[in-house]
Assembly symmetry: C2
């Protein structure tokens, strides 16, 4: 019989972990369930990962890096700051749908500082990206003058809120268009 190589097994476990953690978040996910999903025994997981936290951290690093790279790539192709901002928002909402359970902050305390740091660094990177877009926007006169840092923080907050909304009520959602429309234009009527 053809047995899986170690590398294949490790990848199976990672894939399974992404699936289960995405759905259930950290605490609610059991190693047994990941193992089952990956078609391996409980002990098998521990051949490739030191422990549950290691598994989570590996997966987090992988996903966030992948996401970061793709976003950067997408933004590069955009012509104006409004389009770029829209692209970032669309990208975020898309990933949020797929990996909701992972983004949410869980497992604070108990040595999880490593994971929190990874997330923090990720969000910082995202914020810088958004700040750059806003700067370009104001420089070209398309965006109004504003506190770039704060605006970027609010936008990051908006994107995080979408994940949260997914977890609570996946029917009451909104599209990237709606979202970027409000961020760009606001609610107040413009003087003509």
């Amino acid at each position: 019989m053809n047995r899986r190589t170690g590398k294949e097994s490790k990848e199976s476990i990672l894939e399974a972990a992404i699936k289960v953690f995405s759905e259930k978040g950290y605490s609610q996910t059991t190693v047994r369930e990941v193992a089952k999903e990956a078609g391996i025994s409980v002990g098998g997981v521990y051949i490739y990962f030191k422990n549950k936290e290691d598994l989570y951290a590996t997966l987090l690093n992988y996903l966030l890096k992948d996401f970061s790279d793709r976003t950067k790539e997408t933004v590069k192709d955009m012509s104006g700051p409004a389009d770029a901002l829209y692209a970032v928002i669309a990208m975020n909402l898309k990933y949020a749908r797929r990996y909701k359970g992972i983004i949410i902050a869980e497992g604070r305390d108990r040595g999880f500082k490593s994971c929190l740091d990874v997330k923090k660094r990720f969000f910082k990177k995202q914020r810088r990206l958004i700040e750059d877009i806003i700067k370009t926007g104001t420089a070209s006169g398309k965006f109004k003058e504003c506190n770039v840092k704060t605006a970027a923080r609010v936008i990051i907050g908006i994107l995080r809120g979408f994940v949260f909304s997914l977890l609570i009520d996946s029917t009451a959602l909104y599209s990237a268009e709606d979202c970027s429309n409000i961020i760009l234009n606001g609610l107040l009527r413009r003087k003509e």
Copy 2:
């Protein structure tokens, strides 16, 4: 010696629970810790609450109702829709800071539907409130025409995002002013 009455004890437990759950969320909070904080034994908690979930549900109902009422009260005193919206945002951010761990969605599955429903209903009520404000705004000509329902959803999302931001990085926050400013005015420069 003067012993606490049952009612007093129950209230102590609820207060303690609010404190601990707010900081740690559902999974990370232990009944023992709540008991200790309330100055009662583990068993004592079970005199007044059926179990941990019951404790959480009670507290959730209490807090959300309190918050709902206060928000409504505050909004009533506001003169225009922009002010009203600002008030809602400020109220949300203030409560988020205090009770962050509680709002976050945890303990899905396993019969937690009751709690999720409470949260859903709460958010629905909040959304209606915001929808009304937006409607008033457009009716008076101060807000532009827009899809009221969607706009309200996005705003709720923004507010949720703030809670989330608190959990991940409580230094990278923003004020209610910044937030309402973006929502009202948007980023794009207005034609003059």
